[in-house]
């Protein structure tokens, strides 16, 4: 791969890395997914930057030719689509979690008021 190709791919990977970290920071990407993206991106950057490593990997997995820059760019597109899907999934999942938490809290408070599970402080106050 030419030096230009290595630079372009590394820049794309770096941008992806920063974007993923920012998504996690804002709670828009579940940290478990984020970890996978970060490891995969760092691995790709390493593989792209060290041509010898790429040759070794090609040999190890039994491929004939090392992966081309075009294939890596196509992979980048798939990764972006995947990232978008997982972000949407995380947002929906966060909303559901929030709903479940709020419902649990409101029901607990209602039960406390009804006297199903009367908090001791309330019982003491009422008996006085």
């Amino acid at each position: 791969m030419s030096l230009q190709g290595v630079l372009v791919l590394n820049l794309i990977a770096l941008a992806l890395l920063l974007w993923v970290l920012n998504l996690i920071r804002h709670g828009r990407l579940y940290v478990g997914y984020g970890v996978i993206f970060v490891i995969a991106t760092l691995g790709t950057m390493l593989l792209v930057s060290v041509p010898k490593l790429q040759t070794v990997l090609t040999h190890v997995i039994g491929a004939v030719f090392p992966v081309s820059a075009l294939t890596l760019l196509a992979l980048c597109f798939i990764v972006l689509m995947l990232l978008y899907t997982l972000t949407q999934l995380t947002i929906v999942s966060n909303r559901l979690s929030k709903l479940v938490q709020e419902l649990a809290i409101e029901r607990a408070r209602a039960a406390a008021l009804r006297g199903d599970a009367e908090p001791r402080g309330l019982r003491n106050e009422l008996s006085e």
């Binding site: 996690i24 709670g27 479940v100 649990a104 029901r107 607990a108 406390a112 008021l113 009804r114 001791r120």
Partner: protein
């Protein structure tokens, strides 16, 4: 009360709750809903997150009631699939039930949100597996009040550095994060993954605003970077006798990665928060 009337009254109460949230003016209802202001020992809530702990939950609640009779108790049933829910119905505790399993971190967050909404001054969290001794909470609270900590962690490593009760993988993880916290904050926190904690009200909001895995090293680093005081107090921990640990073999790989990432992002988030507050 028959079932129909029970359901109707629950609906009315829920509507009142929602209404009070929107208008923000129903102080009387807030007082009635949350017993904290009427408590004999005002402001302390003990919370137990529980997931499939049918074997131990009754004993733990009994021990909490015996040793701390004046405190309010909340059990967060995190979508248990065993008999935990049915057992809790028969016990003297307020129960917040997640309709599905959200994980330990979310269960603790629910307890924090409940404590925040109900106006509690401090929250004590302890695990439902019977490893923590409720009898030690009183001395923990004395230290908490005396030193004015924002978060006080009940630590199994302060008195006995060589504690061997936890599995090797978890001990290594705790060592790793203890060293990481020392490198970032400059002070060693020996038991970053302890479930026994006392959290002051001032910390409730930062803990609900940001997201954490299990309120372990990532929360400690985030809070310390925001300038909150976190201390450790020696406690003894019993070995788990029933139920299953939340740390499965795959978690030994996932947990350090997720926590490390949130530690890193926590540093950035705390710096940005400080900058926002200054400006």
């Amino acid at each position: 009360m028959d079932v129909k009337n029970g359901l109707r009254s629950e609906m009315v109460l829920l509507m009142l709750c929602v209404e009070s949230h929107h208008t923000g003016e129903c102080v009387f209802y807030h007082r009635l809903c949350c017993a904290t202001t009427m408590n004999r020992t005002p402001g302390i809530l003990i919370a137990i997150p529980a997931y499939n702990e049918a074997g131990t939950i009754a004993a733990i609640i009994g021990r909490v009631r015996d040793s701390l009779p004046d405190y309010d108790l909340l059990v967060v049933n995190d979508g248990s699939s065993d008999a935990t829910g049915q057992i809790l119905e028969t016990l003297d505790a307020t129960v917040a039930t997640h309709m599905c399993n959200l994980g330990y971190g979310r269960a603790v967050q629910t307890a924090i949100m409940y404590a925040l909404e109900c106006g509690y001054d401090a929250l004590v969290t302890l695990d439902a597996d019977g490893q923590h001794q409720p009898e030690q909470i009183e001395s923990l609270l004395r230290e908490f009040r005396k030193e004015g900590w924002d978060v006080l962690i009940g630590s199994r490593y302060v008195a006995a550095r060589g504690y061997r009760g936890a599995p090797l993988g978890r001990r290594l993880g705790m060592q790793l994060f203890s060293v990481l916290v020392k490198l970032i904050i400059g002070r060693r926190v020996y038991d970053t993954s302890s479930g026994l904690k006392i959290i002051r009200r001032t910390v409730f909001e930062p803990l609900t605003h940001w997201h954490f895995v299990d309120f372990h090293a990532e929360a400690i680093v985030y809070l310390m970077r925001l300038g909150y005081r976190i201390g450790e107090f020696p406690v003894t921990v019993a070995e788990r006798t029933q139920g299953r640990s939340m740390y499965t073999p795959i978690n030994y790989f996932k947990y350090p990665l997720k926590t490390s990432m949130l530690v890193l992002l926590g540093i950035i988030e705390a710096a940005l928060t400080r900058r926002r507050h200054r400006s």
